[in-house]
């Protein structure tokens, strides 16, 4: 997957992370959105028996979109951990915020609902994994 030029044009900062380093910590504050420029990132959720991998993201994927689109200063729902060396770009939050706020109400409801459904599905997945002791 490649980076869309329009996405790359609003990257305001680039940061490298070594293997296994924490890019975003679950429960921490912040609503920045990052895009993966190089490498892979594992999205993990804390469970009673350690960290559970939810999915693996690759180049062009976004990290932290859920919290940004909720716009309610919620803590980070999951952790993002480098799976090998990773280069991420931080997107211009002000510009994105302006874009988001200018969208029609029903469209915002549609996208926010999608984010909520994803959050609920992750919670369900974690509950099931804990119940069946899968890792």
């Amino acid at each position: 997957m490649t980076i869309d030029p329009q996405v790359y044009s609003i990257v305001v900062n680039e940061e490298s992370f070594p293997d296994k380093s924490v890019i975003i910590k679950e429960g921490s504050g912040g609503d920045w959105i990052h895009v993966i420029l190089e490498g892979r990132v594992k999205i993990k959720k804390q469970t009673s028996k350690g960290l559970l991998t939810i999915e693996t993201l690759t180049v062009g994927d976004f990290i932290g979109a859920m919290e940004f689109l909720k716009q309610s200063k919620v803590p980070r729902f999951t952790s993002a951990i480098a799976d090998g060396p990773v280069l991420v770009g931080t997107l211009d939050a002000e510009l994105l915020k302006k874009d988001w706020e200018s969208q029609p109400l029903r469209l915002k409801k549609l996208i926010s609902s999608l984010m909520q459904n994803l959050e609920d599905a992750i919670t369900n997945f974690v509950d099931l994994a804990e119940a069946s002791k899968l890792r």
């Binding site: 869309d4 329009q6 996405v7 609003i10 959105i33 939810i54 999915e55 062009g60 994927d61 976004f62 979109a65 859920m66 689109l69 997107l91 994105l96 874009d99 988001w100 969208q103 029609p104 029903r106 469209l107 409801k109 549609l110 996208i111 609902s113 999608l114 984010m115 909520q116 459904n117 994803l118 609920d120 599905a121 992750i122 369900n124 997945f125 099931l128 994994a129 069946s132």
Partner: protein, 258 residues
């Protein structure tokens, strides 16, 4: 108000508890916002409806088909869990604003959509396995139940009225009781009943039948064994009584006496 053939971009719809709002596999692009009431999201797993989510007012349903495009059928069913009011958005209305959305927001939505689809598939897989284990356990107990029941049952062929225990009283499904005993009965119903309302082992129903004129018996029974009926388009359910008043038990007892 006349709409002169045009479909309004937004309409309000009322549903009663148990109503199917969206059917998995159907093609449709309308999006619904829940204005009042609760809606359950179900996915089919080997013929069994498994509830994967409960949605509250303010939440949206049907967005998956819209976001994935016209070629994708509905990925889940939505059913009113109580009386509901929904606002239906015409796909053309939402499509116009969606297409004008900044590309980055579109990419974020696309990524989230893929993650959600993958997550729902995994959840459905886990639930399906759990359900299969439960059915296996029920099957084992039903075999024991069938052998016990066979000694005391009376052949019978009467129409009965039944409905799922959590459905509105106004709902009347028609079945036919083929035999009955102190512990349970065999009921045959149209397969179409099971398309609108879950009919799987473990499901409980209220049922009423006239044993003889003036001798009505009401009972609560759960499905312990489910198979195709002898006639096309029918299902046959082995059902165990889970509740019956003492008076109805007596009535049934006298009816079963030789």
């Amino acid at each position: 108000m006349k709409t002169e053939g045009k479909i309004p971009p937004v309409v309000r719809l009322q549903y009663v508890s148990g109503d199917l709002i969206i059917k998995e596999g159907d093609f449709g692009l309308s999006i619904y916002e829940i204005i009042s009431g609760k809606v359950g999201i179900f996915v089919d797993s080997s013929g069994t409806e498994i509830q994967v989510a409960t949605l509250d007012p303010g939440m949206i349903i049907g967005e998956m088909s819209f976001l994935t495009g016209t070629s994708s059928p509905r990925s889940a069913s939505a059913r009113a869990l109580e009386d509901c009011c929904l606002e239906a958005w015409h796909p053309n209305m939402i499509s116009t604003v969606y297409k004008k959305m900044p590309i980055i927001l579109g990419l974020i939505a696309g990524q989230s959509l893929k993650s959600l689809a993958r997550m729902n598939k995994t959840i459905s897989g886990y639930n399906s396995k759990k359900r299969k284990d439960e059915i296996k356990q029920i099957q084992q107990s039903s075999d024991r139940w069938s052998s016990r029941r066979s000694f005391y049952r009376k052949e019978f062929d009467k129409e009965c009225v039944y409905r799922p225990v959590n459905s509105p009283k106004s709902l009347k499904l028609i079945g036919r009781i083929k035999n009955i005993s102190r512990g349970g009965m065999q009921m045959v119903a149209k397969t179409s009943n099971s398309l609108d309302y879950s009919h799987v082992p473990g499901d409980k129903f209220f049922a009423s039948v006239y044993l003889k004129p003036g001798q009505q018996v009401n009972m609560t029974a759960k499905i312990v064994k489910l198979q195709k009926g002898e006639s096309a388009g029918t299902i046959s359910m082995g059902m165990a009584f889970t509740h019956m008043t003492q008076e109805d038990q007596k009535r049934l007892g006298f009816f079963l006496m030789p």
